[in-house]
Structures are given as C-alpha cells and as structure tokens.
Amino acid sequence: MKRILRVSRRSFLKQALVAGTAFTFVPRHVFGAEGQPPPSETLGAALIGCGGRGPGTYDTMKKSLEEAGFGVTQLARCDVRWKDTADNKTTYTDFRRVLERTDIDVVAIATPPHWHALISIAAMEAGKDVLCEKPMTRFIAEGRAVVRAAERYGRIFQIGTFGRFGVSKQKEAPLRRKIMTSGLLKTCPGVVIHRGGLKAKEWSGLVNAKPQPIPPNLDWDMYCGPSPLRPYHPHRVGGTHRGYWDYEGGGLADMGQHALDPITWSWGKDHTAPVEVEASAPPAHHEVCGMWGWVEIKYADGFTLVLDSNEWGDRWEKKRSRGVTLEDLAPPDREKILAMPDPEPLLTFGQAVRTRKPAGGNAEAAHRTVTAIHLANIAIRVGRKIQFDPVKEVIVGDDEANRLVNQPMRAPWHL
C-alpha cells in the first residue's frame, strides 16, 4: 500500500534545507532490506484503546497483515488512561491526534464499544483501514453510519470476531448458506438455540455505587465521550464497563457478536436483520445491565434464533433445534443448489487490505449481526415483543423502543 504524506511546501523546504539533501530522489526499493517488504509494503499501525483486549486485537491485526505479505510497524498507541504520561509522539490520549498522522495506514480499535463507531468512522475518514473489536457498536444507527463511512471512503473494515471464518471452511455451513441465499427455500423451518456462555451475571453492573475521585491519569470526559458524563466509579472502566448501558450492553452485547457471527454467515443473514424479537427477563435497570433469561429472534423467512443465558428464569423450550438441508427442498431445487458454486472464501483483514475487497467480517455483515443483539437488548429493556423493519432500520409501532435505535450523543460527538 502506498502511503500518502501530507507535507506543506513550506515544511518540506524547511526539512530539506536542514537535511541538506533537497531534491535528491532515492528509488523506493533502495530502502527495502533483503527479505523484507519494501517501504511501500510496510504499513504504519496504531492501537487505540490499549487495556483489556487491546494488545490481543493489535496482534490479530498485525498477524493478519503479515500473513498477507505486509510489514507492520507500530507507530502509535492511544489510551485515555495516559493523561499524565502521553508524549503525543508515540503515546496519546486523544485518538484524533493519532488519526491526523499521515504515516499511519491501519488502526486497531479496542476501546469500550461506545467509542467503536465514532473512532472507526474518523479513522476511515482519515484514510485508514480498521480492525475493530466486537461488539461493533452500542446502538443500531451507529452501525449504519460505519457502513456508509466504509463505502464512502473505500476503506477496509473488519470486526474483531472470526467465528464465520471457521464455519465457512466446514462442510455443512457453506451448503446451508447456499440453500438460504438461493431464494429456493420459501419458508425457513430452521431453529438455532445458543445456550449459555453469554455472561449475564458476570457482566452485570453495580447499583448503589458511590462516585469516587477520578484517577489523575484518566481523562474521564474523553472516556465518557458520546455517552452521558456520569460521576466516576472504577466499575465503569477496565472491562467491567460491559455492565452499563452507557458503554456496552452486558454479557449479551459482549458475547453475542461472537455467538452470532458464524450463525449469521451460515444462515445467510449478512444483508438483513430480524423482524421480531421477544425477551424473557426481569424489568431492566435504567443504567446498569442486569440478568436476563432468553431472547427469541425471528427473521422474515421464518428462521428462529434463540439466545438462552441459562442464568435466569425458565429455559426457552418452545421448539427444538433444527437445521436446514437439501431434503427441505424439492428435488429439482436440490440439483440447482448442488450446481451452484460454493461461497467465495472469506477474506482476512490482511487479504482485504491487499486486494481492496471487503473483508469476511465487513462493516455490513458485522452491523447486521450486532443489530440482532441490539434488538435483543432493546426487547429486554422495554420488556415487550418488538417488530423491526430491516430495510428502514426502525422499530415499528413502538415509539419508546424506537428511541433506543438511534440514541442522542453528548456534544461535540455525533455520527
């Protein structure tokens, strides 16, 4: 990838005079040592959000790029906890300063999710490719804005969960995807039940938590960002942020995108969203995420997806799991499916950066997956069944629930 350097005429002349080498042209390959990618193939990289999953997310991005033949040099790290130590050269507290750098080509984002959309969009506006931790967003409208930014600026976006890459290499899932995307199955009898592992209790928030002094190294205003500026409490940061609606959406939001990523791919739901969602849960708290039992997510074709926390109330037992096979089709249609080419192999982040084609976990697919999760949380929060229009991306006939689809952001932040 060729890097674009933005240098003003004045600063260029100044630097050139200092170096005493003005107007000396050096062929690009001269800088590439033997066996190393030439400079144009070495990408400048940054990590934004360095706690928790941060280093792991960065390593995933680096490995993927290296496997695609790129060299990767980490040039910047950014975290709001470094207010007292950031040098604004390699360490930062404000992601905007990182994105201003023209020598950075790729960005790994591992902040809490209330920042994912805004930083992803800002990075793509600045011409960077993005690998962003899951969940992709905090609410549905953010996801559509990320999709638009990726399209507008022609950037690569990959979500930081990779379950679909695994199932796409299995035998059954690609066949199921072919059946589901063929349009030959008019009504889908499929039922998928994902039970447990969704950390409802583990990622619940604290009530009765008294505000505490803000640590001197933490830029709390920047941490809160587009979310309301609440009094500080340590449980709101450092992983346990997952338990607060302001930043994420409990274990369901945190683990849900993992759970659904392979399902939405293999059941052909990358370009649509559920039409009806119902939940079983105690009435939700207004600030903290709490317990829930199950959510039943239905798509327009009849496909039913159930997430059962196995931690509260009765289990979901309305139906049994059921797959979809060729037997669900008429014999001539089976032949058509078998004659269809297999799905295109999913591109890793590195391959997508190399080819400029969408990554396997691209913005649209990730947005559609996390939309199902957000709808599940909305159903929990309003305590009633909701209907969703996957084209307009609004909740139908429930103004109160619809207010959670596109939530106001604290100025100056906006989508």
Binding site: G154, S204, V207, A209, K210, P282, A284, R384, A401, H414
Partner: protein, 312 residues
C-alpha cells in the same frame, strides 16, 4: 399500601443475598496456613477470607443488580399508579442521590424507571400521558436535588411527548440539565426546533454547543437560519456543529462558508445531501474543491469518482 412497603418487595441485590445467607451460617473457622510438603521454604498462598458487609450496611453496598420477576414488577407498578399523584410524589421523595446521607438503596429510582417502561406498553396510553405530565411538572422543581431532576429528565427521554416540551425547554440554559433536556427534546422530535432556537441567545458556550448540535441533529428546515447564524459563533465547537447541521440539510447557500471553515467529512456530507436534492452543480463544486486542495489519495479518488459520475 405505602411506597416503602412496595419497595421492600423488590428483590435483594446479590450482596444482600450473601449477607442473608451468611447470617444463618455458623462462622467458618479461620483458615490455617498449610505447611509446605515438598521441602521448599516457600509458604503456600493463603486464601483471603471473603469480607461481607454487615447486614445493616448491605443494602447500601455496590452490588450486582438482579431484578424482580416481571409479574411482581407489574403488580408494584399498577399499585403505584393506582395511588395517583400522591403515590408518585411519595415515590419521588424516596429517590435520593447516592451521595446523600439519607440514601437508602437503588430501589426507588429503579421502581420509577419500571413505571416509565410499564406505561409504555400498548393500551396504557392514558397512564403514559399522566406519568409524562407528572415528570414534566417535577423537572423544574428546585427543591429536588439536581441529580434527581437529571434522572427525571432522562426518563423523559424514554416517554416524553408534546406535554413535556415546554418544561424541558426551560432547562436548556441550565448547565447541569441542558444536555439530558436537549436529548429528551431530540427524542420527542417534532416541533422542538423553535425551543432550541429560543434558548440559544440566553445560553453559555457549553449549552450553545449542545443546543446547536441537537438542532443540527433534528435536520429540520426551520433550523437553517439559526444554524447559519451559529456559523459566526465565537466558539469553534459551536461553529463546527452548525456546519455539520447545514451539511445535513444540504444548504446550498452555505457551500462557500463550509468550504472555508469545515473539514472534508462535512464537505462530503454536504455534497451528498445536495446530490440527493439534485443540486449537481453545487455538489460538483465541492468535489472539485477537494481535488484542488486535498492530497490524500482516498479523498482524491472519491472526488474523481463522484465527478466522473456527474459527467464532469
């Protein structure tokens, strides 16, 4: 039934449950340090004893929220609503900021939120209206602590309607309440632009930013004039929010001003909204400006692509 009796029916938090369990068990013996058996001198790690709050402190301790059975919550909500305004006032009086020495626990605030969600159900429109009117009547109540008023305003983000517009509008110049009030008005949507516009001259820079941004987010033509004026604001963040709003509206008369003061994302938004209004010439000017002034490859490509589509 008194509100305090209703609140007592809400389930305990996880710490309260643990305290309750511990109070029925004999105290466990102090763990003794095991002697190393492998010949090393390194002492085995001592397992820390779990410290639980005392029963009288437990309800005030930070604790994971568990929540009641939905049927119980619905019954409690119906009982509060049956008591009318008197019950609502009684419940409101129980809501205290967590820093208040009289703070009991999260339950009063939680039950109030349960009410808000409860009346949002289909078929409860009348109750919803009454609760919204009650909230609107209390958000300006100076006798209530500011955090409690902020909580009530945030509840109006959920269910506020036309009945709340005036009361919310009065908070738009209050430094502490401006942000949640503006968010609630934004959610109400229709007809709130004049409320934002009327508050602008009286607001300080912080509130002006919030008002301008929410006016911009409304995306209504009636905001156009105020947003154009805000381009001259002394505060740079206000000017930036106004530019974003005018770009969202596809305001052709602002093209020159935005090309001078705003950044490429705002230009591109403006170009796209102009195109949606079939104002191709104005949009083309923006793309040509990008080609002429920006060196970034992705912006150059984007502008060139757009101009090609426009046949220029």
């Amino acid at each position: 039934m008194k509100i305090t009796e209703l609140l007592a029916q809400l389930p305990p938090t996880d710490i309260e449950i643990e305290v309750e369990k511990a109070s029925h068990q004999p105290p466990s013996p102090e763990p003794t340090e095991p002697t190393p058996t492998d010949g090393t001198t390194k002492p085995a790690r001592k397992k820390p004893a779990v410290k639980l709050p005392t029963p009288e402190l437990a309800p005030k301790e930070p604790s994971k929220f568990t929540g009641p059975n939905p049927a119980l919550a619905a019954t409690l909500c119906d009982q509060v609503l049956a008591g009318g305004q008197a019950s609502l006032l009684e419940l409101l009086a129980q809501i205290r900021p967590v820093t208040d020495p009289a703070y009991q626990n999260y339950k009063a605030e939680y039950l109030f939120h349960c009410l808000v969600v409860h009346v949002g159900q289909p078929g409860k429109e009348r109750q919803k209206q009454r609760l919204a009117e009650f909230l609107a009547s209390q958000i300006g109540n100076d006798k209530l602590p500011k955090p409690t008023r902020a909580f009530l305003v945030r509840e109006l983000q959920w269910l506020g309607g036309r009945e709340s517009i005036r009361a919310l509008g009065q908070l738009l110049t209050d430094n502490d309440l401006c942000e949640p009030a503006a968010a609630a008005l934004l959610n109400i949507g229709a007809d709130v632009a004049p409320i934002f516009i009327a508050a602008l001259p009286r607001a300080n820079a912080g509130c002006r930013l919030i008002l301008t941004q929410n006016l911009a987010a409304l995306g209504t033509e009636t905001a156009q004039r105020a947003l154009r004026s805000a381009l001259q604001d002394t505060d740079a963040t206000v000017r930036s929010a106004a530019a974003w709003g005018l770009a969202r509206l596809g305001d052709e008369s602002s093209v020159d001003a935005l090309l001078k003061m705003a950044a490429p994302p705002t230009w591109l938004l403006l170009a796209e909204t102009l195109l949606a209004k079939t104002k191709k010439r104005a949009a083309a000017r923006i793309y040509q400006h990008i080609l002429a002034t920006r060196t970034e490859k992705h912006l150059q490509q984007l502008a060139a692509r757009a101009l090609a589509v426009l046949g220029r």
